[in-house]
């Protein structure tokens, strides 16, 4: 950021240390797998060896006879109520009842006095299956006479989306240059290092306490209560630290249900920690996608029209697939460039593979990969400059998109300009080293999409009688740094050091839980609520301070643990004295409330794709430099430069870390990560030995720059930002590889074999 962008904030905008850091760096931070309650039993889950089969019979009598086994449950032990993200796609049950729909689906669970016995008992459960034909590909799923996976449906299409804005045919007629390409992207594993874990206790009155590794405890809570047919008040969810989420830990999972049913049956707490093997083989992955995209532009590079057909292969359950395909267009294609005509058709299909939903960046990385790849090819075809064309088409502050999404502040143009400066764009064209390449890509990032159901944020700031501050919010610390950023905002308002702000584990009995940690929403949404709660507390204190300082309450300033009137800063009282006065003299406890709902924007129309989904858009430009070994085809990502308009970063160090991480994460999908299956739908990988993710050796150097736009809709000017680099990295790497070897690879991952095959052909 430029020096002129500095504001007189005490802690906002500062790269302070994270508040959860000391606990994490000393091993004292507790994760779900570290928890134990008195009398805890240990649970294990029996999983289907088939991708698609009917369950004919489950006999667990032999398991029950094993010494130390306390209970076994199956799908029949649950109310049979389906759950899911949207009413029309509620398709999931706690455990399979009559049919298994993907390899590794849970069919039974055991609780025993120790883990070893629970594991041994799994071998004593006899399940009779009738194998069914597995549906494994988009073709399998969509062909005429396809085997139907869900008995309550007559198709394997879980959801579809159709959009048309402007007149795309007219747009192509008006274009000077049109090109159409197909891109395919693969399934990848989410890859968090902490496997799913939970401990559940059901007490004598049937009250359920869940403590699990949950990215979005609200979503888990709602799913859980629906599927268990329980009112929300019967279930309390308390969240320990989470060892990585990346959208893999939103929903209630088989282990949560199994632990609850086993606890209810035995009367003791039940803990289930999955193996990483189970997670990699049987849990959520990123959709595989076929994308056909057509772009029309003027010969000067002005973007005119875009048409896109996309099919997402999403596995056995819909999860957030229906949103995923809408967001692909609205957040992934319709920004950050202006266009006048847009047409889109997408389907999300079921297959007999582990289910897919959102993964770090939602569907935006894939949409940007397809769009920015084709865009890049066309700019080259026309002999135009990659940065100039991107700048020319970038949306500006105050403009709206063709589907009526309003952009408040937009620093896309400035971000691209700065990027060019940082990578020496103009100079490098002349002295390009062989087999080195630079790729550029841009992406928007939503500041928390507004969705149906509960979506508001709330916070409470309690000021103790000795001046301590307790901040209660519904955000979940999953590593993104929300506890730090929210504490910074509260500390800024109240004028106390960040270290004096206490926070606690998310607890559904104490806080109104955030709708979830997704869509880069927490800083923006919970931030607003926290800021307002802190302001409310200060307002209450200002009313008490005003007469003491002989000032108007509107002039009262809270800074450095003192309180004074901005008209007479020389006369101040200590914050602690003011609080004591409130408690002891006025008898008034200080309790600030704040909430935020973005209700100024209408709900987006998921059917037509029209309308705002968010109150602020952040913008990202990234350049990636790669080096290709011409003998082996191996790609090394050398450097990433990311410029961004996130309004104002609340903690630039944490944001840098998250965005660098996003690039590392996504580089795996660009270059080698891929979940593979055999002809029966059985996964070929179930460990980090087979499923390889980037290590330190693959991580590039990084540079960043902030374009400060201080979005008037954001708390302290901030916009949502955490997933920004995921949107740009796939495309930037693909573009960089083309720059390095002169050939475009359109199916991910861009492996050494594919590169070498092309290089060999050319020799």
């Amino acid at each position: 950021m430029n020096k002129s962008d500095l504001k007189d904030y005490a802690v906002v905008g500062k790269p302070i240390r994270r508040v959860d850091g000391p606990a994490k760096v000393t091993g004292k931070a507790t994760y779900a797998g570290d928890l134990l309650l008195p009398g805890t039993l240990h649970g294990k889950i029996l999983r289907s060896p088939y991708a698609h089969a009917r369950i004919l019979n489950i006999d667990y009598s032999r398991a029950m006879k094993l010494h130390g086994v306390r209970a076994v449950v199956t799908g029949r032990d649950f109310p049979g109520v389906r759950y899911g993200f949207m009413p029309q796609t509620r398709d999931q049950l706690p455990m399979a009842t009559d049919k298994v729909k993907h390899y590794g689906e849970a069919v039974a669970a055991v609780a025993a006095i120790d883990e070893d016995i629970a594991e041994e008992a799994l071998d004593l459960i006899d399940v009779e299956y009738e194998e069914l034909t597995p549906v494994l590909t988009i073709d399998d799923a969509m062909k005429e006479g396809a085997v139907i996976i869900h008995d309550h449906m007559d198709t394997n299409i879980a959801a579809s989306s159709k959009m048309h804005f402007g007149d795309v045919e007219k747009g192509f007629k008006e274009s000077d240059y049109i090109r159409e390409e197909k891109f395919t992207t693969q399934r990848v594993s989410i890859g968090f290092i902490e496997p799913h874990a939970v401990i559940v206790n059901v007490d004598n009155s049937g009250n359920v306490l869940i403590q699990g590794s949950k990215q979005s405890p609200y979503i888990t809570w709602r799913h859980f209560c629906r599927a268990m047919d329980l009112p929300l008040g019967k279930v309390r969810i308390i969240n320990p630290y989470v060892g990585g989420g990346f959208s893999g830990k939103h929903e209630a999972l088989d282990l949560d249900f199994a632990a609850a049913a086993l606890s209810k049956k035995t009367g003791f707490p039940v803990k289930i920690v999955l193996s990483q093997d189970e997670v990699i083989a049987a849990f959520k992955q990123r959709h595989a996608k076929h994308v056909e995209i057509k772009i029309g532009m003027k010969k000067d590079g002005t973007l005119v029209a875009c048409e896109c057909k996309m099919i997402a292969e999403g596995g056995a359950y819909a999860s957030v697939g229906p949103f995923n395909i809408v967001i692909f267009a609205t957040s992934g294609l319709l920004l950050p460039y202006r266009m006048s005509h847009f047409k889109y058709e997408a389907h999300r299909v079921y297959t007999n593979k582990p289910w897919c939903g959102s993964v770090r960046g939602q569907s935006i990385p894939i949409a940007r990969f397809a769009f920015e790849s084709l865009f890049n090819m066309m700019i080259d075809d026309l002999g135009l400059d990659q940065l100039e064309v991107r700048k020319k088409n970038s949306i500006l502050s105050g403009e709206s998109t063709i589907n009526k999404m309003t952009v408040g502040t937009a620093g896309m143009v400035e971000a691209i300009e700065k990027l060019g400066e940082m990578i020496g764009w103009d100079g490098r064209k002349k002295k390009k080293a062989p087999y080195r390449g630079i790729g550029i890509a841009c992406s928007p990032q939503v500041s928390g999409a507004r969705m149906g159901g509960h979506f508001g944020s709330s916070a409470v700031v309690k000021v103790d009688e000795d001046g301590g501050v307790c901040l209660i919010h519904g955000g979940t610390e999953i590593g993104q740094g929300c506890d730090t950023v929210l504490a910074q905002m509260a500390a800024e308002v109240i004028g106390v050091p960040v270290e004096e702000i206490r926070q606690m584990e998310e607890d559904s009995d104490v806080a109104v839980l955030e709708a979830g940690m997704f869509s880069s929403r927490c800083t923006f949404w919970a931030g607003h609520a926290v800021k307002r709660a802190a302001e409310d507390a200060c307002q209450q204190l200002a009313e008490i301070a005003a007469p003491l300082l002989e000032a108007s309450k509107d002039d009262i300033v809270f800074k450095n643990k003192t309180v004074f009137s901005r008209k007479n800063p020389g006369r101040a009282i200590a914050f602690i004295d003011l609080v004591r006065n409130a408690y002891y003299t006025k008898g008034q406890p200080i309790y600030g409330r704040g909430s935020y709902s973005a209700s100024n924007i209408p709900m987006p129309d998921l059917k037509t794709g029209e309308g705002d989904v968010t109150n602020a858009w952040a913008f990202f430009a990234q350049a990636v430099e790669v080096e290709v070994d011409p003998e082996t085809g191996r790609v090394k990502v050398l450097k990433s430069v990311c410029t961004r308009d996130v309004g104002r970063p609340i903690n630039p160090m944490l944001l840098d870390a998250q965005l660098e991480g996003g690039t590392v994460f996504t580089s795996g999908q660009a270059l080698y990560e891929e979940c593979c299956f055999d002809e029966k739908g059985r996964p070929l990988q179930n460990s980090f030995l087979d499923y390889k993710m980037p290590t330190v050796m693959e991580a590039p150097e990084n540079e960043h720059f902030d374009i400060i736009t201080d979005d008037p809709n954001g708390p302290f000017g901030a916009k949502g930002a955490g997933e920004g680099s995921n949107g740009t990295t796939l495309a930037a790497i693909a573009n960089a590889v083309e720059d390095a070897i002169g050939v475009r690879i359109k199916d991910l991952p861009i492996t050494p074999e594919k590169i070498l095959a092309i290089l060999k052909q050319r020799r």
């Binding site: 999983r47 594991e119 003998e631 030995l689 390889k692 993710m693 980037p694 070498l756």
Partner: protein, 299 residues
């Protein structure tokens, strides 16, 4: 495919002599597994691929964790010497570069501090990195039973993926590497499947000696891993080089021959191409090392 579990139950025996270990092996044929570093065995047990009744720990046996000079025979490496110890040994780095480099590639640092050279060989994975290096160096194995011991060249040791000539009651105790003669050098080059810390896709080791004073290759051995059911020598490529004056062109030709000697099953075409690249790189580096080797290293 199986999900990993906690370890199954077994009886643990800590042997204090080779003889004792061999006795346990011979008295419980088929029910015993030898625990060296444990980095392969414990994972196989967690996967229930092997469920031994007895596990023999060798760590109390003295001498098996040492690298020692063994007179004319060469350097004797105990079966329990860890990958880390070999990779970090200055003597190894200088005189047996390819082995130090191969051991530096295996697993992760946390695994290299546990895993042993003997374990890597006895596990007999087609991708065992230490094997091509030891093949190139002409290593000889000492196999012991209660009845006595035999010396077997490493080339005769592997019989297939994860299988060896070891008898059920037999223990690998030492690996002996003859000193390279004359002006010599060695190198190991590998490509992993995907990331830097990953299974080897193609590994190639070369050890060669030059006739004093010129670039004529007096002797050369090339070992390969991950390109056949077992680690192998590239004998035809070796004979292409032996006795000839080394040039980049000749090495290129030999590398293509080595590629033809490989028999990869998966990723076959790419693997074969990479055999040529890795062999070329390994031989070239070994050549340059030999040429730069002033002391001639002949002992």
């Amino acid at each position: 495919m199986t999900y990993i579990r906690r370890l199954p139950s077994f009886e643990y025996v800590s042997a204090s002599t080779v003889k004792e270990a061999c006795a346990v092996l011979s008295n419980n044929k088929g029910k015993v597994k030898i625990l060296a570093g444990g980095t392969d065995l414990l994972v196989q047990m967690k996967e229930r691929k092997v469920v031994p009744e007895y596990v023999i720990g060798l760590k109390q046996i003295s001498g098996l964790n040492k690298i020692e000079e063994n007179g004319k025979a060469g350097l004797r490496i105990g079966t329990l010497v860890t990958h880390h110890e070999i990779a970090r040994s200055p003597q190894m780095q200088e005189n047996f570069t390819c082995l130090a480099k191969a051991c530096e590639k295996i697993g992760t640092p946390q695994v290299r501090n546990l895993g042993t050279i003997g374990g890597n060989l006895c596990n007999a994975g087609p991708s065992a990195d230490s094997a091509p290096a030891l093949l190139a160096l002409g290593a000889v194995l000492t196999l012991q039973t209660g009845r006595g011991e035999r010396q077997v060249p490493l080339e005769k040791f592997f019989t297939g993926p994860f299988s060896t000539i070891l008898e059920e009651d037999e223990l690998l105790t030492f690996i002996t590497i003859p000193h390279l003669k004359g002006k010599s050098g060695s190198a190991y080059h590998y490509l992993t499947k995907r990331t830097a810390v990953d299974e080897t896709l193609v590994g190639a080791a070369a050890a060669l000696s030059l006739k004093a004073g010129d670039d004529v290759c007096e002797d050369v051995k090339i070992g390969l891993c991950s390109v056949a059911p077992t680690p192998i020598r590239a004998l035809k490529a070796e004979s292409k080089l032996k006795g000839k004056k080394l040039t980049d062109g000749l090495i290129e030709e030999a590398s293509r021959i080595a590629s033809g000697e490989s028999r990869p099953r998966s990723w076959a075409e790419y693997r074969r191409d990479m055999v040529a690249v890795m062999v070329k790189r390994a031989v070239t580096e070994a050549w340059h090392r030999a040429a730069a080797n002033k002391k001639g290293s002949g002992k």
